[in-house]
Amino acid sequence: MSEQYGWAGQILRVNLSTGAFSTIDTMKYVPKYIGGYGIALRLFWEEMKPGIKAFDPENKVFIMNGVASGTMSPSSGRVNFLGISPHSYPEQPTNTSIGGHFPARLKWNGYDGIILEGKSEEPCYLVIENGKPRLEPAKGLWGLGLIDSQQILQDRYGKNRCDIYGIGPAGENLIRYAIVGCGAHNATGQGGMGAVLGSKKLKAIVLVGGKHQVKVKDPEAAIKAILEFYPKKRKRPMIYANLGDKPDNPWWPEWTGGKDIFDNHAKDWMGSIHNMPYPIFAKSCATGCLGGCGFFEFKNVPAVSRPGLALGMTGCVHTRYEQFFDRLEGEKNFEKGFEVHVLAQQLGFNHHEINYGIVPWLHYTKQLGIDTESLMGMPTDVRDHEWWIKLLNMIVYRKGFGDTLAEGLRRTVEILGPEKYWFPEYQGPEAAREGDTNPVKYPVAGIGGWGYVSRGILADHGMGPAGALPGALCWMIDTRDSHHNKWPDWIHDQFLGYVMKEPDKYGTPFVIKWAKDATMRGILIDCLPACFQFPLRKHMGWQWDHEEIGEGTKSTGFEARLFSAVTGVEVTEAEYYKAGESIH
């Protein structure tokens, strides 16, 4: 086992009902299933019987890092979570991923993955210390916020000595869209894996130390390959600027590629926060990140409704919290959005469901005169941060109508009646940014594939076929939110180009090939693993010596080369792609 490259050689099985630990041999599954998601899927189909529901003790969570985890392979600090999802409609197998330094440390603890099965009687947390697993009681942690409980665990096991994944009260209370999170920002996002851990009474997984050494077949060859697609490096000081404004934003030309059409995209992605009186720091969110794609960490931001200073990271879906407040008259508007944002992270919510789903739904139904206020028992005011705090608390502690919203927007409209509460079309200013963008037009409930609320897919770009088709196609062939592993700009660009030029939108094989390629690439990224921004986004302020690399058109080939450099198993791009096909 010690002679192989990349893989650690074993996967830890944890039975939470009995407290028993065992291992299975990774090498039975590789190189055929590569690693990460590939092995997780194989194990899922081997071990899971039909009919298992998300919160049954028989549901298992397959947490897999990949062959490149714990090495210098770029953006390799990701793990995949696979299990029956309580968030998906209907409940079905779904995968999701999360970053931080946990994935590398899992490998350094000698594991290619963890399988969680059964259900603990009492709240507990799993510790793996220098490869040795044990379960500890979590009584003093149960009920605490996701960030607070991690801080306690970090104090207990040592700064720089441990990495933690945990859940907040949302996971404990089986909110169907609860996250597993780490640090102040990272999350499994879609899928409700936090609620599955909550159903198993598992508060956290703490990795401590780690002595395993991950052999890399040819480091200098890997460095050579990495340097080929390394973006041009640039110094990154703290920035004092309004990212939502063209003249202020130092990255604006690069974010938009100089094309007007991407102005809105650039704002939407990271930028449209105004009146932000704090320096901006572009932090990476995973081991080996080449660039910090555009998530910004703010620290020492004063809370508004209670004493204290908050730290958090905003970007992408997260910026919505701040955007709801940033143009209001009066004081401390950025701080209000930030406070709500950090609270949502503490409680362990999936931000998509809250700020692209439930909050706009309450707002749009009100605009159309559909009464959701009496269900809530309070008037809806999305510009009042106290209203947000009440809403989040209602949901997380399942108070009143919060108990229904805890089931997610898809199930809520099913309970209330889709004719009245889902399908009516709203047309007008977008909930977060009144007056800033073009009016939007879509159903009051912004529900995408498999019942998820998803940023930019199907429901809310209002871009016609260019916005709706790619998402719809990806959703048809996979249960993961396609926004999260198949959606870098270059793929979108290709599709946009096709929609612009092709008069017969549905009569060519392009769309099928596009959807298949996007899915294969997403799957292979989850096997290596690499961040889905890999090899970084063209419109994220990065430039390359070879411009075609920014287009990402050879990226599956890069992944194949990295796989070979790490493992010593020679594969061509075609063979690597084929492995993706057999996994899917």
Binding site: G77, V214, K215, P219, R236, P237, L290
Partner: protein
């Protein structure tokens, strides 16, 4: 590889040739650490053809709850206590770079160098598999120089020259 140029323990009390410099962070006004650990991983990989916590010669310190991130490694001290402490004469000064280095063949794993390093935490790692101490050698054998500096995505690491 440059051989040990400190022939006896007594010589160690004499002054040591200065290193060309040491790996340091640039002024935060210029660029900041983004918390990626790339420096650690490349450092371990080029020296050991493996990555792991006991193989890296540079460390990133991180506190995600306070937003504090920085990297640190050996200062290549003008008067290196680690070199003086080694009972096996396993430590030597590289002729080209002046880096304070450990001869892996001679190192017996006693860790006296680690205990002698006056900075906190000590800037020498211990590979418990091979039972050898490992430390920053300024990547003296690499044509492209220090790999941490080469690969740090934010360009926040530099070889700070001793004047």
């Amino acid at each position: 590889m440059t051989k040990n140029n400190l022939s006896t323990s007594a010589d160690k009390n004499l002054s040591y040739p200065k290193a060309i410099g040491y790996i340091s962070m640039v002024d935060p006004k210029e660029s900041v650490c983004q918390d990626c650990r790339s420096c650690e991983l490349y450092c371990a990989a080029v020296h050991e053809a493996a990555c792991g916590l006991e193989l890296t010669r540079i460390w990133e310190s991180r506190d995600p709850f306070r937003g504090e991130y920085f990297a640190y490694t050996c200062k290549q001290c003008i008067a290196p206590s680690c070199v003086a402490a080694c009972p096996e004469d396993a430590m030597y000064i590289d002729e080209k770079t002046g880096a304070r280095c450990i001869d892996e063949e001679k190192c017996n794993g006693c860790q006296k160098c680690i205990r002698a390093c006056p900075v906190e935490p000590p800037r020498i790692n211990y590979n418990s598999v091979k039972k050898k101490a490992v430390k920053c050698d300024l990547c003296k054998d690499r044509a492209d120089g220090p790999v941490c500096v080469q690969m740090c995505p934010t360009m926040c690491l530099t070889l700070k020259k001793y004047k």
